[in-house]
Amino acid sequence: AARLSGGENRLVSLPLSRIRVIMKSSPEVSSINQDALFLTAKATELFVQYLATYSYKHGRGKEKNALTYSDLSHTAEECETFQFLADILPKKILASKYLKMLEKEKRDGEVGKGDEEDEEEEDEDETVGDAGS
């Protein structure tokens, strides 16, 4: 397999071996020809570039000269091309709001599923969990 190191002038920087592992984790896939492997790696790089630049351009992080998680999550939600990422890039809400939502749903007699659809569109500067932007 073509072994490509981390030099900037290489044709592709992502390691083909790792790409191959991910591809093979797909159960229906039997074999992958070398060109297909290369193309997938290269496409993934293009994808990373595209996701980053699109999110930066359309997001609010750039007000602070940054690319933030919420820029990405916003992209996944707003842009159809990136919608397949919506599940892994969920919007984040304040813990307190989430708890309020749960309580409300309990009161309304529904199962507290914690759907993020209702009131989660706040300023995503404060996020649940990890240190945000």
Partner: protein, 143 residues
């Protein structure tokens, strides 16, 4: 995604570099954003693979080929990738061909001073003589 012991993640350093090179200078990328992009990239690979595989199956083939991947890109609405991918593929194929011929020559000559000269960038040399080839040009780091 499959839960397997193998690492389904892509190397952080490489992902970071790709992002940095794509964005304007000096833009800060939060760790969370970086990690999110990395995950997104893995998902992208899975999605592309699955899509390409559908095309292979349609063609009654068990091996994914270049055409399948390109068709997948169109299907996934990443048509913008197709032209640059095709270009890169050509370069890649030339490189691979060069390496192959280099190995053939190597066997023929049984010359042991020929190392991995095939690491060099697109050399349009037909001859593939290994005389003065710069072998230390590229890092031979194994990933």
């Amino acid at each position: 995604m499959a839960e397997r012991p193998e690492d389904l993640n892509l190397p952080n350093a490489v992902i970071t570099r790709i992002i940095k090179e794509a964005l304007p200078d000096g833009v800060n990328i939060s760790k969370e954003a970086r990690s999110a992009i990395s995950r997104a990239a893995s998902v992208f690979v899975l999605y592309a693979t699955s899509c390409a595989n559908n095309f292979a199956m349609k063609g009654k083939r068990k091996t994914l080929n270049a055409g399948d991947v390109l068709s997948a890109m169109e299907e996934m609405e990443f048509q913008r990738f197709v032209a640059p991918l095709k270009e890169s593929l050509e370069v890649y194929r030339r490189e691979q061909k060069g390496k192959k011929e280099a190995r053939k020559d190597k066997d023929k000559k049984a010359d042991s001073e020929e190392q991995d000269k095939s690491r060099e960038e697109e050399n349009d040399d037909d001859d593939e003589r290994m005389e003065e080839e710069e072998q230390n040009d590229d890092e031979e780091v194994d990933n």
